[in-house]
């Protein structure tokens, strides 16, 4: 009725198509307004996205470069292999304390070699280097005992203050209160930089490495946590995929429509909206306190994320199955296919793109989830070593990427803040990769009917 103009004498008379009446003008104006609102909404969304991405990239990129000091280090046999046996087991008795003076004097020699005048002792000068540098040299010597007695060139990590100075994060004024480094060090760094001894380069260690202690941010990497995430995703994939898809197929194609299935359906929809931390405390109670699975293990993390992901896989999978036209089922049944044959030969292949997309979106959500990991101890744990083997990957304490990022963001040192942003970039690259896979699979499986 609203579309019909009331019949008046004026309107029953001749009306030109060229002259729009007031009603048409109002309707067109309303449409234009609505389009404008839509455009504004999209523009605001895109604007926020642009701000977000540029902030992440700008703050995160510095984490992918790191300052190194290239030094020729003399490794006298008397220090690194006092027994003279070249036996790594015996050489391991020399701790990193033994190597520290070697690096300090190597640095002092390099400084002197550049003709730089300084009254600092080698030990004080050595603060330019990372506290992790002696360990790096020691590992190299233990891996190859023949290095003892030689002079070897190493690319050593600089301390995070030096790194921060090269990245513009640390200024001379900041060092007034600093007990590690003083402005004099930075003068030397400037000159070493000109000489090419101190150099900022790509930081593969950030992508592959393990987390480090709070005082050595220059050493910290996200690699081990990423591996933890990968192991968790394997658990989620192995459990949520078969159970989720099977549940969706059963509910959609086979289950009788009665009150029980109605209740199940409502509950699945509600589960998808349950806050993830609830699944975390459920996992703590069920898997750790009752089943006594190890704490902080990716296996438990994966189980918790499976619970969380299941409804998020079932719902889109069911939607994809519903979208297959019933005529296809009838056609299959009509030529004498059984219900199962109709579903697996015809309905499922057609629903596959939608199901796969749902699975990958579900996995991507699980990958970024932090709250449930909080409760099963995957946050706050310093994952400092690689798991040795697959079983250890599932069962040994580890962290996950979002947990690691949260952990870094908590720490006081601004160098860790930079790493938190860098971790976000790595996480986003993972997510982007998964979404790309979803798009490719969708294209590949898509069929018209």
């Amino acid at each position: 009725m609203t579309d019909q103009a009331p019949q008046t004498e004026a309107q029953t008379a001749h009306r030109s198509l060229y002259a729009p009446d007031a009603r048409t003008r109002r309707r067109n104006a309303a449409e234009r307004r609505f389009r404008l609102y839509g455009l504004i909404a999209v523009a605001v969304g895109l604007g926020f996205l642009a701000v977000l991405l540029t902030t992440i990239v700008r703050n995160g990129l510095p984490a992918f470069t790191q300052t190194h000091v290239t030094l020729e280090v003399a490794l006298p046999e008397a220090v690194v292999d006092p027994a003279g046996t070249r036996d790594p087991a015996l050489m391991a008795k020399v701790y990193t304390f033994g190597y520290e003076p070697l690096l300090d004097s190597a640095l002092a020699a390099a400084v002197a070699g550049q003709g730089i005048d300084t009254d600092m002792t080698p030990a004080r000068l050595g603060r330019i280097l990372s506290a992790g540098a002696p360990a790096q040299v020691r590992r190299a010597v233990l891996a190859d005992p023949s290095l003892a007695g030689q002079s070897v060139t190493f690319r050593l990590l600089a301390s995070s203050r030096v790194d921060g100075y090269l990245k513009g994060r640390v200024a001379r004024a900041d060092l007034a209160q600093d007990r590690n480094l003083d402005p004099q060090h930075l003068d030397i760094v400037d000159e070493l930089r000109v000489a090419g001894i101190v150099r900022r380069g790509f930081n593969a260690g950030f992508i592959t490495g393990a987390d480090a202690s709070e005082s050595r941010p220059e050493q910290a990497g996200i690699g081990v946590a990423a591996l933890g995430s990968v192991f968790m995703m394997l658990v989620v994939l192995a459990l949520a995929l078969p159970f989720g898809v099977a549940a969706a197929i059963y509910l959609e194609e086979f289950a009788p429509k009665n009150r029980l299935t109605d209740v199940i359906e409502v509950n699945i929809s509600n589960l998808a909206a349950v806050p993830s931390i609830v699944f975390g405390i459920l996992g703590l109670a069920a898997f750790i306190q009752v089943a006594h699975l190890p704490q902080s293990a990716p296996l438990v993390g994966g189980l918790v994320l499976t619970l969380m992901t299941l409804p998020r896989i079932i719902i889109p999978a069911r939607a994809a199955l519903t979208a297959v036209p019933p005529s296809i089922r009838e056609a299959a049944l009509g030529v004498g296919a059984s219900k199962t044959q109709a579903v697996f030969h015809h309905v499922l292949p057609l629903a596959m793109p939608g199901i796969l997309t749902g699975i990958i979106i579900g996995l991507a959500q699980a990958l970024g989830e932090t709250a449930p990991l909080l409760l099963i101890g995957m946050i706050g744990f310093v994952a400092s070593t690689y798991p040795d083997g697959v079983a250890s990957g599932f069962l040994d304490p580890n962290s996950a990427m979002p947990a690691q990022i949260y952990e870094w963001a908590k720490r006081a040192d601004p160098a860790y803040y930079e790493r938190a942003w860098g971790g976000i970039v790595v996480l986003l690259v993972f997510l982007l990769g998964m979404n790309l896979i979803a798009v490719i699979l969708r294209r590949r499986f898509e069929r018209r009917w």
Binding site: P256, K257, P325, S327, I328, R329, E330, A331, A332, L333, G334, V335, G336, A337, S338, K339, Q341, H345, H346, L350, R447, R448, W449
Partner: protein, 255 residues
């Protein structure tokens, strides 16, 4: 079994959809090698009754069928009967052409494959060719058997579906308004095809078009409000209906 024993015998068939009594007390004998048309206004139950004959209604949860329907003297609703085997013998063609989104070849080969009718690839090729010939579509598609079945025109798709239905060597072919989505030319082709199919199969066709029923069928059943009002030779139904409701429908006064 005598030569004129009915292929399908229905006695006292009732169908309920939840609280709706859709088919009331229907008795019908459907002869072999004959085209039987079901006519009647929309919602009269003719499609529902058709779907009882190969137990397609089993797939509808709220549908209950009672009474007795026999195929060659065997009760198709007996507990020992597997509807899958029944449907291989009683094929069905639907209102809207519904080829699988696969190649033309795979559309035809699907039924024979799942029923294990072919022992070799050559066997299967032959079955596909025979079925496509019986579907009167072989000449149009023989050069593109790998093309998707969904790429054919509406009329071709429907003939493909008929070929698919005959590929499993059924004895009865049920057709639920097979021409309602087709243009007059395609309809004519399908009608000619139905006439040919009569030499091998018992064909039951539901149609909204009385002209079509008159053209293709030898027997006609008129359904009204869930009752089988009148069932007899097509000529007699259209020229000399016994029931006033049949007469009213045929002359266009109800429906």
């Amino acid at each position: 079994m005598t030569a004129d024993a009915p292929k399908i015998l229905a006695r006292n068939v009732q169908v309920h959809y939840a609280d709706t009594h859709a088919i009331k007390d229907v008795d019908a004998d459907i002869a072999d090698r004959t085209v039987t048309a079901f006519i009647g206004p929309s919602g009269c139950g003719k499609s529902t009754f058709l779907r009882c004959l190969n137990r397609m209604n089993d797939t509808i949860d709220i549908c209950r069928v009672s009474g007795r329907i026999e195929l060659d003297g065997e009760d198709i609703y007996d507990r020992k009967v597997d509807p899958v085997r029944l449907r291989a013998r009683v094929g069905m063609v639907f209102q809207k052409p519904n080829p699988f989104p696969k190649s033309i070849y795979d559309n035809i080969a699907y039924g024979p494959r799942i029923h294990g009718l072919a022992r070799s690839r050559a066997d299967l090729d032959e079955i596909v060719e025979t079925a496509l010939r019986r579907g009167a579509i072989w000449d149009e598609v023989k050069d593109r058997l790998d093309a998707p079945g969904t790429g054919l025109s509406g009329g071709q798709q429907q003939r493909l579906c008929i070929a698919r239905a005959v590929a499993t060597e059924p004895e009865v072919l049920l057709m639920d308004e097979p021409c309602s989505a087709l243009d007059p030319i395609a309809t004519d082709q399908v009608e000619n095809l139905i006439d040919e199919l009569r030499s091998r199969y018992s064909v039951v066709i539901v149609t909204h078009s009385m002209q079509q029923a008159a053209r293709v069928s030898q027997k006609t059943a008129f359904f009204h409000l869930g009752n089988l009002v009148e069932f007899g030779d097509t000529d007699q139904i259209f020229t000399n209906p016994q029931d006033p409701r049949t007469e009213a429908y045929i002359s266009g006064r109800i429906g």
